[in-house]
Symmetry: C2
Subunit: 217 residues, 2 copies
């Protein structure tokens, strides 16, 4: 039973993950810049997981209390919110699920990483004391919210902190049928973040909610 | 029954793919800069696929005769060999399977794309008349060479040429149990090429010969 806060938890990915983790018995906190939007999201969560241990409020309140701080904000707000919360986050485990991409190309989304190389590496720069783990980029937000249907696919987990990585990998597998895959160091998040952009193209081509499974393991 | 030439076909990936395509009844040509190395590779192929329709010789001879020209050279020789063969390749279908990576980082391989953004995009620049298709980055070379064991995983195919992409996707599925996945335009090869680097990290961590399968389709 972990306490999990979702920074920017009112978006589709944060909401979907919160539903799944509430369902598996964890206490989840939906953080937002707006108490009203947090409250709306909490109501959606209660509807999806009536027995869930669900809270909501300002982002910093969640970050204070949580064992795991999930970052599920849009990439455009990533640096700003982490800078704002750095002191509260301190040396906690941060799970970065952000996908930096640009929509300016006529062919569709293109990876658009920040100067650090990836969102997760940007988090490492902005939160030097925190244990940053990159994960959860490939679980489709809509599929996650369909809580009664099992998820498919792997969650590839990258981090330079071995113990934190192991804890997050255990957390991953609390979502039924989902497998945690060790993806090596945080730098590999450049690749896992970009893979989400490929999945978006594939979703458009096949009208699907795709994910990824590593074969041969 | 297609004629498939492998430029740089003596390397492990070219050899493995040639074995599989010879096994499914295609005529394969192992191209090399050295007739001797081509001949050695042809002998290996005959040993693995005794009934195969297998040839070998200089790269340009293969490129002249083939319906599909596979590029399976090391990334360091990519630009040079394509420049050399541009006239012979002309407007044919080129299947680029090259993965540009650097081994200078202590944490392991890192994607190291050329200025064009990816090897496949570099091929498009150097072969403006050819129909460049990016594919076959995620089938493990060792697993391919184990011809009696079914392969696992998908081949993600990216191209700006719809008809050529379709033909290559049909060719992909001549390898038993392998599925072709439309990965959109050639630009997405930036992502599929980098994914191979992640698989190398995963192989090291799990001592595996991993591949990728897209779920939800």
């Amino acid at each position: 039973m972990a306490k999990i806060a979702f920074i920017g938890g009112t978006g589709p990915e944060g909401l979907g993950l919160a539903m799944r983790f509430a369902k598996s018995g964890n206490a989840v906190f939906i953080g937002s810049r707006s108490e009203e939007r947090a409250e709306e999201a909490v109501q959606k969560l209660h509807a999806a997981v009536p027995a869930g241990d669900i809270y909501g409020g300002f982002n910093h309140e969640g970050a204070e209390k949580a064992d795991f701080i999930f970052i599920t904000v849009p990439a455009s707000g990533h640096a700003e919110i982490l800078t704002e919360l750095a002191e509260v986050i301190d040396d906690k485990i941060v799970v970065d699920a952000v996908v930096p991409m640009s929509f300016e190309d006529k062919e569709g989304p293109v990876p658009s990483p920040p100067e650090a190389g990836s969102s997760a590496e940007e988090a490492r720069t902005l939160l030097p004391k925190a244990k940053v783990v990159s994960a959860f980029h490939h679980l489709d937000a809509k599929a996650l919210q369909n809580v009664d249907k099992p998820m498919q696919g792997d969650v590839i987990v990258c981090s330079d902190h071995k113990t934190a990585k192991k804890k997050v990998m255990q957390l991953v597998e609390e979502i039924e049928y989902v497998r945690a895959m060790d993806g090596g160091g945080l730098q590999n998040s450049r690749i896992t973040e970009a893979m989400t952009v490929l999945l978006i193209h594939i979703n458009k081509i096949y009208k699907s909610h795709s994910g990824v499974r590593i074969t041969g393991i």
